[in-house]
């Protein structure tokens, strides 16, 4: 039995310890905002926060997390999350939307660490999140917008 702390709750799971967190969240906890895109940590659709750090849940065995708090898109809250999601709406970033929950989580993690990121910091933090609709242009703008709104 695996015990996970997810979005402030303790959840018990009868799954193998090597099952990626992605599938535990999606298929066993019904937290479907975390998406499957590649399964090799190359696209970022499955991004969640573990102890506040953006990780690829498809590469994180469910048994490796221990006591750390897992935050999925369903559980994000706070000033930075609000600013990021607000900026995403204001700039109208979304197209198909499938990757965007992962994009939002990576952006939140970036702004937690660096409240006023430069373009190259944005590239470094966001290059692991693929968007096949190529909304990158607006993702960059929305992160700057979120940083501005947090300052003001």
């Amino acid at each position: 039995m695996i015990v996970l702390r997810v979005n402030g709750q303790e959840r018990r799971l009868d799954v193998p310890a090597d099952m990626p967190l992605l599938w535990a969240l999606r298929d066993h906890l019904d937290l479907t905002g975390t998406k499957f895109g590649c399964g090799i940590g190359a696209c970022g659709s499955c991004t969640v926060l573990v102890g506040g750090v953006a990780v690829r849940s498809c590469q994180t065995p469910v048994g490796s997390i221990g006591e750390a708090m897992v935050t999925t898109i369903e559980g994000v809250k706070g000033k930075i999350a609000k600013a990021v999601q607000g900026a995403w709406q204001k700039i109208d970033v979304v197209q198909c939307g499938y990757c965007q929950t992962g994009q939002v989580l990576s952006a939140i993690a970036l702004l937690e660490k660096s409240p006023h990121p430069t373009d190259s910091e944005i590239e470094a933090a966001m290059d692991g999140n693929v968007c096949r609709c190529a909304t990158y242009h607006r993702i960059r703008a929305a992160i700057h917008e979120a940083a501005r709104s947090l300052k003001g």
Partner: protein, 730 residues
């Protein structure tokens, strides 16, 4: 799929057939059927109204206005655009608008561009299709709300106005919401004559402050894609498919697979061997443990290098002529200067972010499907065929799709048929969610076809282009599908779209096509043939300009006197890009202009070559004419996305085969465009006032040649073999 050209629509009141139904809950539901809509088939009769109409617009007592979408939203913004058409004519407030996907039902929800027999989305037809249909529906609903208010208030309808979702009577000071009037409105007589607004009075159409209707739910994780639905008792399945296209299953051993915890069943299906498990991870692990013997006797065993060599050999002789103007060979012989070039294009995968998946559930008397379905009629039909049901017994729930780029528009409904086949093979005991992994996606075929292009041009002594010959060798998307009607006598105009009708006024032209066959399945890929014909035509016209010693923009404009829309977007893009201003050493600027799906797009790319030889696109200026831009910001968004999608492919994407096996498997070997690759993009939207045309695809074709022409300007090198990353730049 072929798309008839849409003619301009007269902006006048037109007799329409409006049908309403008054639901018990006081809902006003309206559908407009256009007897003489712009897409009406030649000689077609007025479509009969279905016996059990489902509406396009529903106004409920809670004051929400729901637009029923017959088209799929896979990112192109169609949910927002279609809702805008209704909201405009209804004078609704944007915040009260909702959308819902239509059930699979033809002809009511058939695509008017495809003769109403197929419900589906593609070829950038959605807005053009619904431009009148949904506006009439909105206008009819508005008229009935006004009639209801007039009846309740004993007022004249002419004294009643509708503004921002409120129905008002100035003289008495009365006002009411749509919701409050919905039940009464449903009892009003059905309007016979419905007038549409004059475009000069539009409050929402053409305005940039309308935000996407699907935005919030897609950033808070609540939007449900097919893979996010769960049915009671549902099991997950993956399929082991043959590693070579055209191979067949000989035998398999599932002992070890069945020993994997969570694996419930292993069954043979038409596509291969399906592993059914309690969760996706167990199904994937179970598949890894299968031992399968494939029969490769009919399989593709060639490498893509061999296939291209065969294409080039075929290109030595003339194919089927798809367009001829004047006499190109006589003109060529008499030309002062002749140039020739070959271009090669690889297979490309669509790789939408959401790998294909679908849920199929057998129920008493039928089945239900949850899928990001793009061709509902064909998907429904295939599931029915596999399950031994009638199409109307299959209830298809179309849901948000995580991208498509053409991949979901499969004439044989591949993944839907697969999911249904697993349900059948397991006796329909449980609902099945079929999951494709990224490897399944990239190795599963249905690629943009490979192609080889050979072009020749003749110039006279003054540098005028007097002869143009273009030969294409490729694989056909439509041969052998239910859609191969246009291919009589091998005349595959679809494979030559953009080349057969290239826009430049050359007095002598010949365009011919060879269609070669392969078991590798191919499919439309965002912008279809324009994705390669646009590159070939726009690169070669640039080569011709250089041979003529003329400026590439001026040379094109000289040949576009019959194409004012193209000339206008090209001039605008060149002007905004500062075409005539010099760039530093090592940087170059290139242009391209392509009309696809009735939309004209010009792009100017600025490129720099790094010391390591890396090609970096720094900036793209784009000008687009799509007629009336229903939502200019979404038009910009589609141009940005089209540029990014096209750029990733031309820079570094190729699906290659070695001994028939696909060499790529995931995003580590089929490397998508990433944020750091994305150029700065400025989009200029021309409002030409013409009937709106689509923008989902038209942003893609110009970016490749604009970049290649910029590389030439920077380095003097022509890159004719894609992807560009194959070229050694240092």
């Amino acid at each position: 799929m072929t798309v008839p050209k849409a003619g301009p629509a007269p902006m006048v009141s037109r007799r329409t057939f409006i049908k309403t139904m008054a639901a018990s809950s006081g809902v006003l539901a309206v559908a407009a059927v256009l007897p003489d809509g712009v897409f009406a088939a030649e000689g077609g009769s007025t479509p009969a109204f279905p016996h059990d109409p489902v509406a396009f617009v529903r106004i409920a007592a809670d004051n929400t206005v729901t637009v029923i979408l017959k088209h799929l939203e896979y990112g192109q913004g169609v949910a927002t655009g279609l809702a805008t058409l209704v909201a405009e004519e209804l004078d609704a407030d944007w915040s009260q608008m909702r959308t819902e996907f239509a059930p699979a039902q033809v002809p009511l929800y058939g695509n008017l561009a495809w003769g109403e027999t197929v419900q589906g989305t593609g070829a950038s037809t959605s807005i053009a299709n619904s431009w009148e249909e949904l506006r009439y529906s909105g206008a009819a609903a508005r008229q009935m709300l006004v009639a209801a208010a007039a009846a309740q208030w004993h007022a004249r309808p002419d004294d009643i106005v509708v503004e921002g979702g409120v129905v008002k009577h100035a003289k008495s000071g009365r006002h009411a919401t749509f919701g409050a009037l919905a039940a009464e409105a449903a009892r009003q007589p059905v309007p016979i004559e419905v007038a549409l607004k004059d475009p000069s009075t539009f409050k929402l159409i053409g305005k940039s402050d309308i935000k996407r209707i699907d935005s919030l739910q897609k950033i808070n994780g609540l939007a449900k894609f097919a893979s996010d639905f769960r049915r009671p008792g549902m099991l997950r399945a993956v399929i082991a498919r043959p590693p070579r296209f055209g191979a067949k299953l000989r035998s398999f051993d599932a002992k070890k697979a069945k020993a994997v915890k969570g694996v419930v069943e292993v069954v043979e299906v038409a596509a291969g061997v399906a592993v059914v498990a309690s969760d996706s991870w167990s199904a994937i692990r179970g598949r890894e443990m299968l031992k399968i013997d494939w029969d490769d006797s009919a399989a593709e065993r060639r490498s893509t290098g061999q296939i291209m060599a065969e294409y080039k050999a075929a290109g030595n002789s003339r194919g089927v002529v798809v367009n001829r103007v004047g006499d190109s060979s006589v003109a060529m012989a008499g030309s002062a200067k002749e140039i020739e070039a070959e271009y090669t294009f690889p297979y490309l995968a669509h790789a939408p972010m959401e790998p294909l998946n679908a849920i199929v559930e057998l129920k008493e008397g039928g089945a239900e499907i949850w899928a990001g379905s793009q061709l509902q009629t064909l998907d429904q039909g295939m599931a029915a065929q596999v399950l031994g049901l009638k199409p109307e017994q299959v209830k298809l729930h179309t849901v948000w799709a995580g991208g498509s780029f053409g991949r979901r528009a499969t004439p044989n409904a591949d993944y839907i048929g697969e999911a249904a086949s697993i349900v059948k093979a397991t006796g329909g005991k449980t609902p099945i969610h079929l999951v494709w992994t990224r490897e399944d996606d990239l190795r599963g075929g249905r690629y943009r076809p490979m192609s080889y292009h050979k072009l020749r041009a003749g110039l006279d002594a003054e540098g005028h282009l007097i002869s143009w010959e273009h030969r294409i060798v490729t694989q056909s998307i439509q041969v052998g599908t239910p859609l191969d009607a246009p291919l009589r006598n091998g005349l595959d105009i679809i494979s030559a779209e953009g080349a057969a009708n290239q826009p430049y006024g050359v007095p002598n032209q010949q365009i011919d096509v060879h269609i070669l066959r392969s078991p590798v399945p191919v499919l439309w890929w965002r912008s279809a043939a324009h994705s390669h014909t646009g590159y070939a035509v726009e690169s070669f016209i640039d080569e011709a300009a250089h041979a003529a010693g003329k400026d590439p923009v001026a040379f094109r404009l000289g040949l576009l006197s019959e194409q004012p829309r193209l000339a206008k977007v090209l001039r605008l893009a060149a002007d905004k890009a500062g075409w005539d201003t010099p760039l530093p050493q090592g940087r170059g600027r290139g242009c391209a202009v392509v009309e696809s799906f009735n939309t004209a797009v010009a792009q100017v790319a600025e490129v720099s070559i790094g010391k390591d030889g890396k090609i970096k696109v720094d900036r793209v200026v784009c000008a687009v004419d799509c007629g009336i831009a229903v939502n200019p910001d979404q038009v910009r968004s589609q141009m940005e996305g089209g540029i990014g999608f096209g750029l990733g492919a031309v820079l570094r994407n190729a699906i290659t085969l070695a001994d028939g096996r696909v060499e790529q498997g995931n995003f580590d070997s089929y490397v998508p465009l990433r944020l750091s690759d994305m150029p700065r993009i400025d989009v200029y939207v021309i409002d030409s006032g013409a009937h709106p045309s689509g923008v989902g695809e038209a942003g893609v074709p110009p970016i490749g040649p604009a970049v290649a022409n910029a590389i030439f300007a920077a380095t003097g090198r022509r890159l004719r073999d894609l992807p560009l990353s194959n070229a050694k730049m240092v």
